[in-house]
């Protein structure tokens, strides 16, 4: 063992002094900035809004890292309900929220910390798009959007200041068609089961959404009158499934799709000419130069909305970062990005600043494009003079017939759905 040094030399004093000065001049805020840089928030959700461009922009604007995982709706529900520690931010749909909230894996958000809360579209607050609107059937976002307090487990019927999900993105869905292969106008949901398209139709194999498309068709055919398409009785489910099982046995459907890419490939390859579809899938088909229309139908749209929920395990600096992220999300850049793909932003007015007048007119106001409309990735989607399928925001969102939903008889419906797939 070496002998401990005794006494101070000039050199040792200098060393110690240098270290002390260094310690006192290292500014605390720099340490904090360092921590922000190290924060990693793990977000997962469906492919629609889990975009790498968003993660890159977050890194640039806010400094922390956002890790994105894209899954299908079933997997998202599963993960949110069973693996609360695997995520910090859940980007889920409102009907998934209805299913997942009772597990206690998400925490309510204080709306006073949300800068643009007052500007959020009425659909997500009072439930009404405009004061005169009627609320559509199904799981309308406002009905599962609020809880009584920070620890609330049941949904409140009105605005309480504690939100379950901060709305981020929503749209009105309808059928996608290939006008070049159909060659005549399509105006009703009934066309999905028209024998003319035998072997060339498809619906999506996600039970909770597929059943709604089925209901839209059956109601349009006049076969079934539903009390609430978003909350069917067993009898209504049986009748709906019977109609579609018969159609399936007759070879009406070419395939069922479960992921976004599958729906794009079915349509683009011409395997299918009419099917349930999501807006960006239409965009993807069009960007390959193949004509594809998101056909407005007289019975109205089936609509959906998504939002960001916070994991109940988030706290401290990560929680603050998550609020920063939410405020940033609603501040316009993402909104503009999503609206240029055909979705709507929860706070359209902030998105306007991030879009050109031409884009805003085309996507939001339903006006004729004055110049070429391109997607965020640069593909041409529309030429000057074209208008958006379905028209303006108020035309489209005002014609919603039903919201995506989860029913009281969900388990029964799921079993019936399984039978339908196996039939």
């Amino acid at each position: 063992m070496a002998k401990p040094k005794v006494g101070y030399t000039r050199r040792s004093m200098l060393k110690a002094g240098g270290a002390a000065i260094a310690a006192s001049t290292l500014p605390a805020p720099m340490l904090w900035a360092q921590d922000t840089k190290d924060i990693v928030l793990r977000q997962f959700g469906t492919g629609v809004s889990n975009l790498n461009d968003v993660a890159n922009k977050v890194k640039e604007d806010l400094g922390f890292t956002l890790e994105m995982t894209a899954l299908d709706s079933d997997s998202v529900t599963q993960r949110a309900a069973t693996q609360p520690d695997s995520f910090d931010i859940a980007d889920i749909e409102y009907w998934i929220c209805k299913k997942v909230w009772p597990t206690g894996n998400l925490q309510a958000m204080d709306t006073s910390k949300i800068a643009n809360y007052d500007k959020i579209v009425g659909i997500f607050r009072s439930g009404k798009l405009t004061p005169e609107s009627t609320i559509a059937q199904g799981t309308a976002p406002h009905s599962v959007g609020f809880v009584d307090g920070p620890g609330g487990t049941s949904f409140a019927s009105e605005e309480t200041g504690w939100m379950t999900l901060i709305p981020t993105i929503y749209n009105a869905d309808t059928l996608g068609i290939r006008p070049d292969l159909i060659g005549r106008p399509i105006s009703s949901w009934t066309e999905l089961l028209n024998p003319e398209f035998k072997g060339k139709a498809s619906i999506l194999d996600i039970s909770s959404i597929g059943i709604m498309d089925m209901a839209m068709v059956c109601e349009a055919m006049g076969e079934i009158q539903y009390g609430d398409k978003g909350n069917m009785t067993r009898e209504e489910i049986d009748k709906t499934m019977a109609i579609f099982t018969e159609a399936k046995r007759n070879g009406q459907f070419r395939a069922f799709w479960k992921t976004f890419d599958e729906s794009v490939n079915l349509m683009a390859s011409g395997e299918v000419v009419i099917q349930s579809m999501w807006s960006p899938a239409i965009t993807a088909v069009k960007s390959r130069g193949i004509p594809c229309v998101y056909q407005p139908l007289k019975e109205g749209y089936r609509s959906w909305g998504g939002g960001i929920g916070l994991s109940s395990s988030l706290s401290g600096m990560e929680l603050d970062a998550a609020y920063d992220y939410i405020n940033w999300y609603l501040s316009g850049w993402v909104g503009g990005y999503l609206m240029r793909q055909g979705y709507y932003s929860a706070v359209p007015e902030t998105s306007k600043e991030f879009m050109s007048d031409n884009e805003w007119g085309y996507w939001f106001e339903g006006k004729e494009a004055t110049d070429v409309i391109t997607s965020p990735t640069g593909d041409t989607l529309a030429k000057a003079g074209e208008t958006r399928d379905g028209g303006s925001f108020y035309d489209r969102m005002g014609a919603v017939a039903c919201w995506n939903a989860v029913m009281d008889e969900n388990q029964y419906m799921v079993r019936k759905w399984n039978e339908f797939i196996a039939a």
């Binding site: 079933d74 309900a81 039970s207 079915l266």
Partner: protein, 285 residues
């Protein structure tokens, strides 16, 4: 210190494998069996002992239809992979004389396995589609006037993919046993006046039984446990037991999925037990 008890040493020697099997095979299966009696709500599962899951399973006509479809896929795939696998192995083992050539050709057989299972499967989709290469070629040759619809998203497509994916599992064990057949037995058969076909049926076939059986077990269990091939190649239009389970899992119905899995496991074990009645693999290896 020395261990004198031979039994103790034997137990100690067996224990690492026993522990590994207990932890990674027995325990998960027990867990699945236990969960299959539990109950489920919309979003959670709760411990219970109830027979609801099995009751629903056995009372639903869908279950029988789906198990029937699964067995159908397994049988057709087995028949085709066996026919192809046996032929390929026979060619490799008896027609190719040089060992180098045998090894080279055998490696050629494995080339498709250099890519992922899913990719090999999905690459069939553009090929078989309505406007795919197969249909376009047939139309340009004048064989057909309209595209064949049943090429894709049908039982045909499912079985084609299965055969493509799993034939090698049949080739390898059959080739292996064939290589170990004493060539003098074939000469003896020849000397006794057997023609080629008689040699094949009375000498080679019985001697390759263990290989055939191992290949059969591979193919049958793989096909019966599959869900992704059926989903992609049938465009979600057909179902087998694997898809039933995966649908349940997707919808958080774990107990019901576990019950289906237990029934599937029993079915597969019964099938294998029947197969082993025909050939005693241990004795013949």
């Amino acid at each position: 210190m020395q261990l004198r008890n031979r039994h103790l040493i034997g137990w100690l020697e067996a224990s690492p494998l026993a522990l590994v099997l207990a932890a990674f095979l027995i325990a998960p299966i027990l867990m699945i069996v236990i969960v299959s009696f539990w109950g489920a709500t919309e979003f959670s599962i709760y411990p219970a002992f109830q027979l609801d899951n099995y009751e629903f399973l056995f009372s639903s006509p869908v279950t029988y239809r789906v198990f029937g479809a699964t067995l159908k896929y397994a049988f057709i795939t087995w028949a085709l992979t066996f026919a192809i696998g046996f032929t390929v192995a026979y060619f490799l083992a008896f027609h190719v004389r040089s060992l180098t050539m045998q090894i080279a050709l055998f490696l050629v057989c494995t080339i498709p396995f250099w890519t992922s299972n899913i990719i090999r499967m999905i690459s069939w989709i553009p090929f078989l589609g309505r406007n795919g290469i197969a249909n376009q070629t047939l139309i340009s040759w004048g064989v057909i006037d309209e595209p064949l619809e049943w090429l894709l998203y049908s039982d045909f497509a499912v079985i084609l993919a299965f055969v493509h994916l799993y034939t090698l599992f049949m080739v390898v064990p059959i080739f292996n046993t064939m290589m170990r057949i004493d060539k003098s037995l074939l000469e003896a058969a020849r000397d006794n006046g057997a023609n080629g076909f008689q040699t094949l049926v009375h000498v080679i076939l019985p001697l390759t039984k263990p290989g055939i059986m191992i290949g059969t077990i591979f193919v049958v269990t793989l096909v019966m446990g599959d869900f992704i091939t059926v989903r992609f190649m049938s465009g979600s239009q057909r179902a087998n037991v694997g898809r039933l389970i995966s649908n349940d899992i997707g919808l958080l119905q774990y107990p019901s999925a576990a019950a289906t899995a237990v029934v599937l496991l029993c079915t597969v074990m019964i099938v294998i037990a029947i197969l082993l009645r025909f050939v005693n693999i241990r004795k013949e290896l």
